[in-house]
């Protein structure tokens, strides 16, 4: 990394430490395979303030889920190299042992994944699984744990929580399973919830229910949410700040409404343009040519350059994350001269 890039990354150090609930600095992750080490996350920095909902958007293979797994320390240890700081409530999670991390996961940081069925154990009842979480983190009796489980199910608006505790996941619908996952994630009242595509497998009317529930609970308990999705609409409606990730890097970071009105990175603008709009029926959709490069064939310069409409020769050098203003950062050297189409162009 050149000095200029290092400096810019330094400068890009998001919200002042101590204030943010979660503050990640220069997170890099590499995997080893037969051909050696391959970097899959490159200097990811982000911050989540207490009670805030922050969205991460990007296509498959941009490193969104990997960022979540790195925060939670859920990447395997062999053949994986993780560097950088993950400051959470004054501690660097990257330095914690596995035993210490286990006390953080589920207690202080809750998580929900896309496919509830693969996260729930089919041979245990819903109640067993929630009480297990409670009893792992709190020294309470079985009976009290069970009461908390019932209360958690009621909080996610399950109509008859007394019955549902004794049911097995297979007898629940997809929406109900995701409610159970949310109940399980929130039963220990974590300060941060990481939700990775929590509604992607659900029907749109059920998605509306779950999003409403998630945001309502987040607001009432003051839980901050790191919300990972490919759906820009969900980010627009639920988050105050968003980050766009591309090819393992953060390429844009700022307040949601400002980014939607006028994105500063061509990739964010491209994602917005690709969403069909009712007013432009039957017209040609502006798409982004090409696809996300694999970690093995990462461009040496700006990683988006091969797909970018606005590319110039200097773009073929590595791009730093630049501060566009006090609130916004963008990894594009042309951000100031470009006027990119936003949501309402």
């Amino acid at each position: 990394m050149s000095d200029a890039v290092a400096m810019a990354v330094e400068r890009a150090g998001v919200a002042p430490p101590g204030k943010a609930l979660l503050s990640i600095r220069d997170l890099c992750v590499s995997f080893r395979d037969d051909s050696g080490w391959t970097q899959v996350l490159n200097n990811v920095s982000l911050a989540v303030n207490p009670g805030e909902t922050v969205g991460i958007v990007g296509e498959s293979g941009c490193g969104k889920s990997l960022t979540a797994l790195s925060i939670l320390g859920l990447l395997q240890k062999r053949d994986v190299l993780r560097t950088g700081e993950i400051n959470f409530e004054g501690r660097d999670l990257a330095k914690l042992s596995e035993a210490e991390m286990r006390r953080v996961r589920g207690r202080h940081i809750g998580m929900i994944f896309q496919e509830p069925m693969s996260a729930l154990d089919p041979v245990f009842t819903v109640g067993d699984q929630i009480t297990e979480t409670v009893r792992t983190h709190f020294n309470v009796s079985r009976r009290e744990a069970n009461e908390r489980a019932v209360a958690a199910l009621a909080a996610v608006r399950i109509a008859s929580p007394q019955n549902v505790v004794s049911m097995y996941p297979m007898s629940l619908s997809g929406g109900m399973r995701q409610r159970v996952m949310i109940a399980m994630a929130l039963v220990c009242e974590p300060r941060l919830l990481i939700a990775d595509e929590p509604t992607t497998a659900l029907d749109v009317t059920i998605q509306a229910q779950i999003m409403d529930l998630l945001l309502d609970l987040g607001q009432r308990t003051g839980t901050a949410i790191l919300f990972i999705t490919h759906n820009l609409g969900l980010v627009a409606e639920s988050c105050t700040r968003m980050l766009t990730m591309y090819a393992g890097q953060v390429v844009e970071d700022g307040p949601v409404d400002k980014i939607l009105m006028q994105p500063k990175h061509p990739y964010t603008a491209g994602l917005l343009g690709s969403v069909p709009q009712p007013r432009q029926r039957k017209s040609l959709l502006p798409s982004i040519p090409g696809r996300v490069p694999s970690p093995h064939e990462m461009p040496s310069g700006c990683r988006f350059a091969p797909r970018c409409t606005y590319v110039q020769p200097p773009c073929l050098a590595p791009q730093a994350l630049l501060s566009a203003d006090a609130e916004r950062q963008v990894r594009c050297r042309r951000y100031d001269e470009l006027t990119l189409p936003g949501a309402i162009s």
């Binding site: 029907d203 749109v204 229910q209 945001l215 627009a236 939607l260 069909p276 029926r281 959709l285």
Partner: protein, 340 residues
Amino acid sequence: MTDLSGAVDILVVDDLDVTFKGRRRNQKVRAVEGVGFTVREGETFGVIGESGSGKSTLGRCIVCLVPPSGGRVLHFGKDPFALSASELRRHRRGFQIIFQDPNAALDPRMTILESVREPLDVAGIGTAQERRVKALEMLDRVALAPELALRYPHEISGGQKQRANIARALVLEPSLIVCDEVVAALDVSIQADMLNLFAKLQREFSLTYVFISHDLRVVAHVSDRVAVMYCGKLMELAPAEDLMAAPLHPYSQALLSAEPEPQPAHLRNKKRIILKGEIPSPLNPPSGCRFHTRCPIAVAECATREPEWREVLPGRWAACHFAGAPVPAVSDATVEVLRP
């Protein structure tokens, strides 16, 4: 079925029922019930619905993969289910279907070229050389680079596989293609490419599409008219523009409002209708109007009397007692103000 010029509609679905046997004795799954519409040549007819709405079963029945239990499907005025097995095989070439999962439709042991050529081989059209040329031409038409022709499915991306599937469906030069969730598994920028490709192919081959999706944005973008399905029945049928601008059925209204908008807060539609409860099981559909259990404007009558399928406004059909009439006040509990 026949308009004034004497032209015959490419597809007529007339009071169609599709019923499957349930797991238990005498148990019946009424996947599609009393569905009727006409598709004109060159049109894109959208079908939108959630899980269990019967939209995929409808699509399969249209291309004769599932027999109707009642009612009829007519292709150019003829009932394909009345044909003999060999006639049906020949007839089928004109009515193709493309599925959601591009992996499932391609044989992992065949190269892309072999997969695209296979329908021609089965149909026995032309010489081997002609079939190869034709398959290569189709790959070109769907913008798959010729060097991918000799690759195997696992060596190419999801978007490329879906292109191969389109080429495979096109190679027999069909008149109508049922597209069942064809872009659901793709990332948004790839999805945009694919929607553009469908539009281009429609012009080049004068195709008629029945475009099935759960994604209202996608359906509204490509379709001329859209049918909204819920629990096996049609709820509404309208030109895409009218449906998006002012849906008549409360279910369509809820679907539209549930669709998240990638717009800044001050430009968004502020009210969202959040439906209560779950999508009912087709094993045990609700009485009366199928939607009454979740409908924000349902009254007692809705649980007992099934609404009639009627033309509420010219060209706009709906099955709701209140469609087009002043509706009873929506209770505040179901309408919530959006955050943040």
